[in-house]
């Protein structure tokens, strides 16, 4: 059992044509439905839904408040390594990018962690490139053991692993794994990942299945907007989420919306996604799925982040550094991508409070998973 047969039953061009053919009547029907379907979701992300944005936002706000209340979760990335054996045309860590490579030692991880704890963080997202010699499963296990005592919730955004590897890491305190497909367009995926293990489209596509079978607590999905038609990629993400929720029903899910950002001498977006379109998509996801967590990173501008909070977002990062050692060890090393919102976690928390939201720093406890002692 895997997502692959469902994926293969949905040809990219057919999906795209179907989305762009939606009419105002389709949008109105989707808005009026008590429960939205994937077909309704196509209508809500279609160009025909643009005039209905305010109505979608109002509904999205209501649904989000009902399910998540007036709270927003805070998390922060902790980049452990920028070593990478992959070539990705859009990424600052790409193998062919001439930057100084660095991997944090346990002592350095703790130095970084001390800064984040000082800011109040209890949920950390560990990030690495893909370099199995230096940042393979042994290294990740060591990182979890080192950091587990200091954080209640540990997420990871690293290379896709085998099921047995996830089964080894989960008891060490791994709560969440984020794995973005980048794009569901198989041919374009190959173009953007010409070398390295990441060039295997299907191994990446099957990752959420391996995670689900391993019994992960939460997983995050998404694509990188800018590589291909955003509407079609967003539909495949929704299709994938729908399959995963039905199959691995004990797992929690989140979605993220990274838009391609400028990096040193690398790819410019093929498709530009405007702020308006991103809002449309966020609201459409909320209208489709009232329970999924929606996350926004510091890739987005302060103005955009301040306003999007009320429209469906349930978790945000703040104060992020996207270079290993960026908080304490080596603040000047090269970033994976530029961030747009430079405000400190305290400034973000104050912004949330001004808007009537409680910034939630802690929302998990390792003791709730009896395997972690």
């Amino acid at each position: 059992m895997s997502f692959r047969p469902i994926f293969e039953a949905h040809a990219w061009d057919d999906v795209k044509t179907s989305i762009y053919a939606k009419t105002a009547a389709d949008v109105e029907r989707a808005l009026a439905a008590p429960k939205r379907t994937l077909d309704g979701f196509q209508a809500l992300i279609s160009p025909a839904a643009a005039p209905y944005l305010e109505q979608m936002a109002q509904l999205s706000q209501q649904l989000t408040r009902r399910r998540f209340g007036n709270t927003v979760q805070l998390y922060v990335p902790l980049y452990l390594s920028n070593e990478c054996q992959n070539i990705c045309t859009y990424c600052g860590f790409s193998l062919d990018n001439q930057i100084r490579r660095r991997t944090l030692s346990s002592v350095e991880m703790l130095q970084e962690a001390a800064v984040l704890k000082g800011w109040g963080y209890d949920h950390v997202l560990l990030v690495t490139g893909e370099a199995n010699q230096t940042v393979g499963v042994d290294y990740l296990e060591k990182a979890l053991r080192t950091l587990r005592p200091h954080f209640s919730h540990i997420s990871m955004e690293v290379q896709p692993l085998d099921q047995a590897d996830y089964e080894r890491l989960i008891p060490q305190g791994l709560n969440t794994v984020l794995v973005y497909q980048e794009t569901y367009h198989q041919q374009d995926y190959k173009k953007h990942h010409p070398k390295g293990k990441k060039s295997n489209f299907h191994y990446r596509l099957d990752t959420p299945d391996r995670l689900g079978r391993a019994g992960i607590h939460k997983m995050g999905l998404g694509v990188l907007f800018g590589l291909e038609d955003w509407r079609t990629d967003a539909f495949y993400t929704a299709l994938h989420l729908d399959y995963l929720e039905r199959t691995y029903w004990q797992t929690k899910y989140s979605l993220s919306f990274p838009r391609l950002r400028p990096t040193e001498g690398l790819l410019q977006p093929k498709v530009e996604m405007t702020d308006r379109e991103l809002v449309q998509l966020i609201c459409a996801y909320r209208l489709l799925n009232e329970e999924v967590e929606l996350s926004i990173s510091t890739r987005e501008s302060p103005t955009f982040r301040d306003n999007i909070i009320r429209l469906g977002i349930t978790s945000i990062s703040a104060g992020s550094k996207t270079n290993p050692g960026g908080y304490a060890v080596a603040p000047e090393s090269l970033e994976q991508f530029e961030i747009s919102d430079e405000r400190s976690p305290q400034e973000i928390a104050a912004m949330l409070r001004r808007q009537g939201y409680e910034p939630v720093w802690k929302d998990w406890d390792p003791t709730l998973t009896a395997t972690v002692r």
Binding site: G69, T251, E291, R353, E358, V360, D365, T367, A370
Partner: protein
């Protein structure tokens, strides 16, 4: 007229409104709303508090003598995890009261009846006062009663949905046959829903989302307080039964008396 107080596991409550602590826009506002609600039993998610810190923000705002804390195990998926979490909560929060929540399904947060029964049995033996959150399942309620829970907490509708008493038919059966207090938990979205639950004989209700996400949580908390009082008073005053046909105020057979 004053109504009868509620007694659970030997403890007397004058308020039949239990409250939750999630989803408020600030801990300060939560404190004000809970004070306005008159609630004496306040549930708090173990996952939200830092039990290692004496200065946890949430707990600091709950430090009023009228509040008794009811730690909940929200987040656990199995009986084994629930028992472990309960022991931690007992040690950290110095209470053996526990709202037992086991929902392996993170989407609708629906309780697992099998794991809940297993955990309840073990926790009662370990000396906990167990209040399990469950489906409105009359048979399960009886099974839980047999293993020694202090009350049952059937849901009115999916948690956080504000849809009211969708399980009314089953709640009526549960209330009709329960030997322990029945607390309707989850789904109550308006004071009228709370009043309806009390009118039909529920011993208490637990409300969170409807207060926390209201436009004015403090005022809404007060509205719930009044609704619960009205509902209980109506129940004790014995509601006139609805009839599908007209009943003459001067019965035709009165001459026989």
């Amino acid at each position: 007229m004053t109504t009868h107080p509620l007694v659970i596991a030997g403890r007397t409550f004058s308020s039949r409104l239990f409250t939750g602590t999630g989803k408020f826009s600030s801990a300060q506002l939560m404190e004000e709303a809970l004070l306005a609600s008159g609630s004496e039993l306040v549930t708090v998610a173990l996952k939200r508090v830092d039990v290692t810190s004496a200065d946890d923000d949430l707990l600091r705002h709950l430090g009023h003598p009228q509040f008794s804390l009811l730690p909940n195990t929200s987040g656990v998926r199995t009986a084994k995890e629930a028992v472990f979490a309960a022991q931690l909560a007992r040690e950290a929060l110095e209470t053996n009261w526990l709202k037992l929540e086991i929902h392996p399904d993170p989407k609708y947060l629906l309780p697992d009846p099998i794991e809940t029964l297993k955990a309840a049995e073990e926790l009662v033996q370990l000396g906990f006062v167990v209040l399990p959150y469950i489906h409105a399942d009359p048979v399960l309620c009886k099974r839980l009663e047999e293993v020694g829970v202090a009350a049952v907490m059937p849901l009115g509708a999916p948690i956080g949905s504000n849809k009211g008493l969708l399980t009314r038919e089953f709640l009526e059966i549960i209330i009709g046959q329960s030997r322990v207090p029945v607390v309707v938990d989850a789904g109550i979205g308006a004071p009228s829903h709370a009043a309806a639950a009390l009118e039909m004989g529920a011993d208490a209700v637990l409300v969170n989302t409807a207060i926390a996400v209201a436009g004015q949580p403090v005022a809404m908390a007060q509205a719930f307080k009044m609704a619960v009082e009205a509902g209980r008073l109506a129940y004790e005053a014995k509601l006139a039964a609805p009839a599908s046909h007209a009943v003459a105020s001067s019965p035709l057979t009165a001459f026989l008396d």
